[in-house]
């Protein structure tokens, strides 16, 4: 009997060079890992949008690395990087309309950038100056950062139920990870979505790891397949192929707008970095696995294709590079300049009107 109890698990046997958790059902692809077309590359985006997508990916990666530096320099508390997941996040976020609403986890800074969330405000969370949504979640339709894994999925479903009740032509999208999908909250939310035909996209970034636990020890099945049990479609897509992610999300959104209900998307990607700056992935993961995964880099793949298609060239990339450096520097400065909030903020929004005990405690702290 080979089960998770057995030490010599399948992590030892690596033959193919793709990340192990990609095995099984072949994910849907538009671009091959080498950047050549693997399907119909017309996903309905014009050259500007195609370019914008790459620019976001480059910005996201650069900013992610800056955040890790900021953390090392003591300017952020723990920071969860997303290197390797740029296509999954940006491809999906780009596919949404302004009226759609995103319910993220704690790792979707790249998606937040696409939604127009102010990066400095977003990073206040990781600086430890505010919990939840330092940015205005209603303005960008990007819900507060959510840490208790899978709990945000029900929020996405509830929001979508609200859209359906209002007969608004919009949808919500809830991000979650491969590990999060083991929570009961995933199941309850997915089943509710099916029953109410909620216009929601359940978007799983399967990056192969939940902290130190590989997907193979997280579930014996394939996550996209669960959709069938809830009575709605599921699709497994190459999460490092931004065009495939875009198309799958677009199709799911169109289904949602048309009143056809939810879609589960499992985007196969890879977490290049550690779980967070507090984590040492060397304790549980071989470096060569990471090296192999790097050869499936989503940015290189897309840039190769865009270049071959003539949408970008070296000059444009150099221009972007300079712009992005400036952008990131401004964010860095903004983060560093961000002060601790006034102490009374701890009390100010717990209730719409502070009950006597809180009002008194507030006075005590302020010494008034």
């Amino acid at each position: 009997m080979l089960s998770a109890f057995d030490e010599g698990d399948s992590r030892g046997i690596r033959v193919a060079s793709e990340p192990e958790h990609w095995r099984g059902t072949e994910p849907v692809r538009v671009l091959a890992p080498d950047g050549t077309a693997a399907g119909d590359t017309d996903v309905g985006l014009g050259p500007d949008e195609l370019r914008a997508m790459l620019r976001y990916m480059l910005l996201a990666r650069r900013l992610d690395r800056e955040c890790i530096a900021l953390q090392r320099q003591g300017e952020l508390t723990i920071y969860p990087g997303f290197e390797g997941q740029e296509a999954a996040q940006i491809g999906s976020a780009m596919a949404l309309g302004a009226d759609d609403f995103v319910f993220p986890t704690f790792r979707e800074l790249a998606a937040a950038l696409v939604r127009g969330v102010d990066a400095v405000q977003y990073l206040a969370y990781h600086r430890g100056t505010w919990h939840g949504g330092p940015y205005d979640p209603m303005a960008t339709r990007f819900a507060p950062i959510c840490i208790p894994v899978a709990t945000q999925i029900a929020h996405g479903v509830g929001y979508a139920m609200g859209l359906a009740l209002d007969e608004t032509r919009a949808c919500s999208l809830a991000y979650f990870g491969d590990g999060s999908a083991s929570e009961g909250d995933f199941h309850e939310a997915a089943n509710l979505a099916g029953v109410f035909k909620a216009p929601v996209i359940l978007f799983c970034q399967n990056n192969g790891w939940a902290i130190s636990v590989p997907t193979a020890s997280q579930t014996a099945g394939e996550i996209w397949k669960r959709a069938g049990g809830y009575g709605f479609p599921g699709v497994r897509v190459d999460g490092n192929d931004v065009l495939a992610v875009y198309r799958a999300t677009r199709e799911a959104a169109d289904r949602a707008y048309a009143g056809e209900g939810p879609t589960l998307i499992e985007a196969m990607t890879y977490r290049i970095g550690a779980h967070s700056t507090a984590d040492d992935a060397g304790r549980y993961r071989d470096d060569d696995e990471v090296e192999r995964a790097r050869s499936f880099d989503p940015i290189a793949r897309y840039r190769t294709w865009l270049t071959a298609e003539g949408h970008v060239d070296d000059e444009l990339l150099r221009e972007w590079h300079a712009e992005i450096e400036d952008q990131v520097l401004a964010i860095r400065e903004g983060v560093i300049a961000q002060p601790a909030p006034p102490v009374e903020w701890m009390f100010d929004w717990v209730y719409a009107d502070a009950p006597p005990a809180i009002a008194e405690q507030r006075r005590e702290v302020l010494g008034v």
């Binding site: 208790p148 709990t151 719409a352």
Partner: protein, 328 residues
């Protein structure tokens, strides 16, 4: 007009509160297990689906965390959810959503997103119910900052508090004393009157104050009547709002009567009586002439029907505690 005031049950009052809320505010939704077609296991939602349709009043799968989580999402979409947890203990699967999100979301968004969520549940024991159908979960909720918690003891309070809960911009847990669901009271229903946060003196007296709530209010009134025969004049306070507590009224009563007993069904350890005692000590220590005694459920799981009457505070136990503080 007739001299005889018509009386209605708490179930009818709660039903009226939901009906009026649904009628007055098109953003109010009522959902939960069996609340739609069947009208709820206690009939609290009877007739609402027929009147307001299945888009406003609907049944859900058996997914408490999902139900509450959906209410959070619905709040982002501007809906005001009134959800039912079928029984006290069946709110436990939703605790993570309640503690992490329902209670905290306003603060997390710096007040940009309201959480006008009402979580109703039949609570407490006294109906010889099955296991997990007689729990007093108030401690879990009262300790959780960001929630309000109310428990009415009369139909009129039930109507008012439920309506106030629904219109409150913040989340309110409504613990409905199921043992009093069919007890009748004044039929005049209005939202005017005491708000959330206000306790009530339901019987005046000066020898001691008994603080209580829920189904124990009636029992404490019985005890007070018994003690009146012994010429002990007991004040009874219905706390009604378990969070926030009406510390001011609590302290004033102790200053005036010098002695206090707290009565509830929940186990003693860290039951609400502990907090009431601590506040009395903080606010009225110099007036306290006897230890505050707690007459409560025991520190054991809620017992089977056959032992329920041994577990719940009885008139005898309440009266004995009052005599003890009075004689101190």
């Amino acid at each position: 007009m007739s001299e005889i005031t018509p009386e209605i049950t708490m179930v009818a009052a709660l039903n009226a509160a939901l009906r009026d809320a649904l009628r007055d505010d098109a953003r109010v939704l009522v959902f939960g297990q069996d609340v739609g077609r069947s009208g709820g296991v206690f009939r609290v939602t009877d007739g609402l689906q027929a009147e307001f349709g299945a888009r406003r009043v609907f049944d859900t799968p058996i997914s408490e965390a999902g139900i509450v989580g959906a209410a959070v999402g619905l709040a982002f979409a501007g809906w005001r959810s009134v959800v039912e947890m079928q029984f006290d203990a069946f709110s436990y699967p939703a605790l993570e959503q309640i503690i992490d999100h329902v209670a905290k979301m306003r603060g997390r968004t710096r007040g940009r997103v309201d959480m006008p969520i009402t979580i109703r549940m039949p609570a407490f024991g006294g109906i010889k119910g099955k296991e997990h159908h007689g729990e007093s979960p108030e401690t879990y909720y009262v300790h959780t900052a960001g929630l309000k918690v109310v428990s009415p003891s009369t139909p009129a309070d039930a109507y008012r508090l439920l309506r106030l809960a629904i219109s409150d911009p913040d989340p309110v847990i409504v613990l409905e004393p199921k043992a009093r669901y069919w007890a009748k009271g004044e039929a005049e229903l209005t939202t005017d009157g005491a708000g959330i946060g206000e306790a009530a003196v339901v019987r005046d007296g000066d020898a001691a104050t008994v603080f209580t709530y829920g189904a124990m209010v009636a029992r404490c009134l019985d005890a007070a009547a018994t003690l009146a025969d012994e010429a002990l004049s007991i004040r009874v306070v219905d706390l009604r709002s378990l969070s926030p507590l009406d510390t001011e009224l609590i302290a004033r009563c102790v200053r005036e009567t010098g002695r206090a007993v707290v009565v509830h069904e929940a186990p003693k350890t860290l039951g609400l009586g502990a907090e009431v005692t601590a506040r009395i000590v903080e606010e009225a220590f110099d007036f306290l002439e006897a230890p505050v005694l707690r007459v409560t459920g025991y520190d054991v799981p809620y017992p089977p029907a056959a032992l329920e009457h041994h577990y719940l505070p009885s008139v005898q136990r309440i009266a004995a505690a009052v005599r003890q503080v009075a004689a101190y």
